[in-house]
């Protein structure tokens, strides 16, 4: 894990925030204060499940005013590879976990004159932090939050209390649609858009931004990809002389960590590029699932990202 320092935390509070969402409050185990973070940051939570360590990245919702705790929100996903299920079923108040130092891949662009925050479902967690930071700085902002129904109550209530009518809610059960073509036209020069939510929503919002004539540099998105599952294959590290099997339900990064190897990585979700490595040989087809490599880099077959991509075939040899 190249995230560097890990922090031991104790689960101080667990709250059922919505039908499938729990919010966890983590306090530093040593009782001290947790590091400051800028809105949009995430931490990786390390969960010990017997012999196995599950590592999932979660956006930070907020830090207690006295610095004593952080909150994260965890959606229980139906096809959980273990992480969200573990957090929902196995973690209780008083348990110890480890988290990495906060890392920010989704920062606010503070010189912006206005900020549009767009969230879908659990994508609200970084948006929540961003809205608080913009409010503290006295910036101009709007929040557009799409939810399935009222079951996302806890986030809605808190944000409404803090942000009043700057929060616009779209409930799918009431057939309210978050339509970017209605939000974007006429926004003043210097406005920035930030979106976090399901993949399809992010794509639609970014495309809507370009369609509205916006330059791509003003459209910001947080896209954490869960490592897609696939078929097992063999992985060989040429320099380290290590060979291991990547199971169908794990990523290359996870397989290497299980084998005791510690390759550089950061976000574990295909966004930051830290774990991109050179491919030496591929007996099979590279399946790229990241949001980092360019189309040309993918086409070259020379690079792959350990955290979310895989091989469909027999063996992959990497320059590690």
């Amino acid at each position: 894990m190249s995230g560097g320092v890990e922090i031991a935390v104790v689960v101080a509070e667990i709250e059922q925030a919505a039908r499938n969402v729990k919010r966890f409050r983590f306090a530093a185990k040593d009782g001290g204060s947790l590091p400051h973070f800028a809105a949009g940051s995430h931490v990786v939570v390390l969960m010990r499940d017997g012999e196995r360590t599950i590592r999932n990245a979660y956006s930070l919702i907020d830090r207690a005013e006295d610095g004593s705790s952080y909150r994260i929100g965890v959606l229980r996903t139906p096809n959980s590879r273990g992480g969200s299920k573990f957090m929902h079923e196995r973690v209780s108040v008083g348990d110890e976990l480890r988290i990495t130092m906060p890392v920010n891949l989704f920062p606010l662009f503070h010189p912006g004159r206005k900020h549009l925050l767009i969230a879908g479902g659990i994508g609200v967690t970084p948006i929540y932090a961003m809205a608080d930071e913009l409010q503290r700085r006295g910036a101009l902002y709007e929040i557009h939050y799409a939810v399935r129904d009222e079951a996302h109550g806890a986030f809605i209530d808190e944000m409404r209390a803090r942000h009043g009518d700057r929060l616009k809610l779209y409930r799918r059960d009431l057939e309210e649609i978050l339509a970017v073509d209605q939000i974007l036209p006429g926004q003043p020069l210097g406005t920035h858009l930030y979106v976090c939510g399901p993949e399809g929503m992010i794509e639609a919002v970014l495309e809507g931004g370009l369609e509205a004539g916006w330059p791509k540099e003003h459209l910001h998105a947080e896209r954490f990809q869960t490592p897609p599952t696939g078929e097992p294959f063999a992985l060989r590290l040429a320099k380290a002389g290590l060979t291991c099997e990547v199971r169908g339900d794990q990523s290359m990064l996870e397989a290497l960590e299980e084998a005791g190897f510690d390759p550089p990585s950061l976000c574990r979700g295909g966004a930051c590029g830290q774990c991109a490595v050179d491919v030496l040989e591929a007996d099979g087809e590279l399946i790229h699932n990241d949001h980092y490599l360019s189309a040309a880099e993918r086409a070259s077959g020379e690079k792959i990202m350990l955290c979310v991509s895989r091989l469909k075939g027999r063996e992959l040899v990497l320059d590690l």
Partner: protein, 199 residues
């Protein structure tokens, strides 16, 4: 001192029309006119939603006529470079996010245009820029903070404090200026001959 290319030195990709923008705002100084002609000539649909801002005194003979001949929806002539920047800022203050900003001309001019857009929350990389014209730099003396325009050689003599300054590639986006540092700080009086700036 190492004066190799450094990260702060802006790069300019060249004027390329972004057809997804709802309107185009083009700012040109004298040397930039040919770049605008190259990028916009024949693009009738785009010209119908294009505003071109330039300065009288600036545009080389013939360049202005050709800019006029493009028949952009609006062509605004300012009396001087300074008035041009003021007019640009006035247009920016009424603009929305669907406009694309283009600038063509000398590096010092591009720097001023980008800096004034950035002050309004625009990401510098979203400004489409093409550098044209000779090598001349706007340089700030890091000692007395005086800014000299049109510096073409290094070292040069600061017209603020009289020191001999090495022109570095270190570029300040806020000031739209390169940095000049005293070249004979260690051995006063030892000033190497001036060389024309190459880029």
């Amino acid at each position: 001192m190492n004066t190799d290319v450094m990260d702060s030195r802006p790069t300019y990709g060249g004027l390329r029309l972004d057809p997804r923008a709802k309107s185009h705002l083009v700012v040109v100084d004298g040397d930039g006119a040919p770049a605008v002609l190259d990028a916009f000539a024949g693009a009738e649909d785009e010209l119908n939603r294009t505003t071109i801002l330039c300065a009288h005194e600036d545009v080389a003979a013939g360049g202005l006529e050709r800019l006029c001949a493009l028949r952009a929806a609006r062509l605004q002539l300012s009396g001087s470079s300074e008035d041009l920047l003021t007019e640009f800022e006035r247009v920016l203050d009424g603009a929305d996010m669907s406009v694309r900003i283009y600038v063509a001309g000398r590096e010092s001019f591009i720097g001023k245009v980008v800096a004034s857009a950035a002050l309004r929350g625009v990401v510098p990389d979203s400004v489409v820029a093409e550098r044209r014209g000779g090598v001349s730099r706007r340089v700030q003396c890091v000692h007395c903070k005086h800014i000299d325009e049109g510096v073409t050689a290094s070292p040069y003599r600061c017209s603020g404090c009289g020191q001999h300054l090495l022109v570095r590639d270190h570029f300040s986006r806020r000031l739209a200026a390169f940095q000049g540092v005293r070249i004979d700080a260690e051995i006063p009086g030892e000033v190497p001959p001036a060389m024309e700036l190459a880029s």
